[in-house]
Subunit: 329 residues, 2 copies
Amino acid sequence: MAGSAKILPGEFELIARLCAGIRPGRGTIIGPGDDCAVLAPRRRPILFTIDSMVEGVHFKLKWAAPHLFGARALTVNLSDIAAMGGRPAACVVNLALPKRTSLAEIEGLYTGLRRAARMAGVDIVGGNITRASELSITIALIGYLEGRAMRRDTARPGDEVFVTGTIGDAAIGWRILAGKFRTLAPFSRKHLVERYVRPAARLLAGERLAGFSKTPTAIDISDGLLQDLGHILEQSRVGADISPAAIPLSTAYRKAIGDDLSLALFGGEDYELLFCLPPGHTEAELSRRLQIPVHRIGKIVRGRRLTLDGKVAPRMAGWDHFRRFGAAR
Amino acid sequence: MAGSAKILPGEFELIARLCAGIRPGRGTIIGPGDDCAVLAPRRRPILFTIDSMVEGVHFKLKWAAPHLFGARALTVNLSDIAAMGGRPAACVVNLALPKRTSLAEIEGLYTGLRRAARMAGVDIVGGNITRASELSITIALIGYLEGRAMRRDTARPGDEVFVTGTIGDAAIGWRILAGKFRTLAPFSRKHLVERYVRPAARLLAGERLAGFSKTPTAIDISDGLLQDLGHILEQSRVGADISPAAIPLSTAYRKAIGDDLSLALFGGEDYELLFCLPPGHTEAELSRRLQIPVHRIGKIVRGRRLTLDGKVAPRMAGWDHFRRFGAAR
């Protein structure tokens, strides 16, 4: 009898079914099915990251087909590898499953996950399934550095701050899924929702940036532009001045909220790259080299302050929530 | 403003606080705080595993001090490395936190986790925190093989089956925590509860086994003795005959349920090692070499059947739950 404290009965068979057809690549010596996966040694520094997607917090199954969320769970991890300038290689997956989740939903999640993994050159080498009261997918991902690591703590006064793509779309997309912006034109709605549901990890841009003669400082925009920039400022012990007008916005963003920059500044989940480089690069040159539109949005300055056009930035929610969180009980 | 879809506000500061005082070892180039950890390359095959502990499923905070669960969350992962014969090196930690969790509880969990990591020579190199409706700790662990991997698919007819330690204690301990066995003597209760709350990963035994001239087949006993043996039988395409009377039981186990072997056969969470070796080893020799009591409990046979003293084993729950699970909705 399975002890009540135990993992999901049938876990082994379920994982076997979910992993059926996965053909590990050359870097994988033992794939799913043993106590651990075994990867062949490489002469490259190893990147290691973990991220989680929780139903009700990050997504709702009724919002879109399960395979999209399976793919997205991997993408948010891939984005961390992109921000370091690395190449993803292998992942292990923890599925927490409530009893109400159907096998079709689980298989849908895994179908998306497998597809995203294949496209990114990632082997799914192991998995675990636990019973839980809400659905979540937690993925740990290993990658390798082909060159140097793009860190958060290397920004210097005088560096210019750039971002890839457009910013703020995903935050609006999330709100559309949650029932807001009902009057927005279908075309714009679709674009913004796609940006939330199907973000792209900027792996090519990250790898190319890491190859620059002077290694950029970089982070991916997951928590929000100013908050993620804040991580760079804190760890590099510098300040920054950002030109809000220079932040690249999509046409759909403008159609949704016009010149309101709040979601571009504070909304998260874009998974674009934010990076800092010494002067000497043009937007056109960077866009060409990274094969994605790049915009200069400001510069790194002495001191520790983050300003918008020279004025102190409004304090971001999130920055002082730790105290509140500590007192939450 | 933090989008509602976002990760826990203050996550960054909380992780910084939880990771304060962690001094990464020499193998870690970049520890917690960047998009990914960076580990120095090694010339050893990499072991990679993930496991999760969920409150209400695997533990309840009211059962014991939070630091014990923090330590246990790492131990269940260490056990997977032990079962491969490897040496653990670095982990990343995903904490899913309900609003009701206090900062003291979170710090307690992390204190136990940090201590267990230090004792096992593991660097905590990264973390992630998400909001969730129930507390869970998911850890992905990297280790290295110094020798060959102990696999599940290499058992051959004629091999003898051994286990370390005693079996079934943790399953009783879990039931004691859940309110059963109230008349059992305090000394026995304490022993059995400890075996559930504070399991040991058999890292030394695993590493020594992996150094044997003929590499053993091995698995750790997490799902239950017969179920885990079943994984070896399935993957090795062999059968086994087990002598129930030879299964090592603790005095406390006997005091709790006498000669009833059900929890030794089917209870999980012991994290002892089960391994198969060609004849020629005595229990005394193996106990001395592995520095833990080892008992021979049966042998691998041709065919695909699992028998107990020659009689077909009762069908284990868990083996046929997949179909039930598939129909759960």
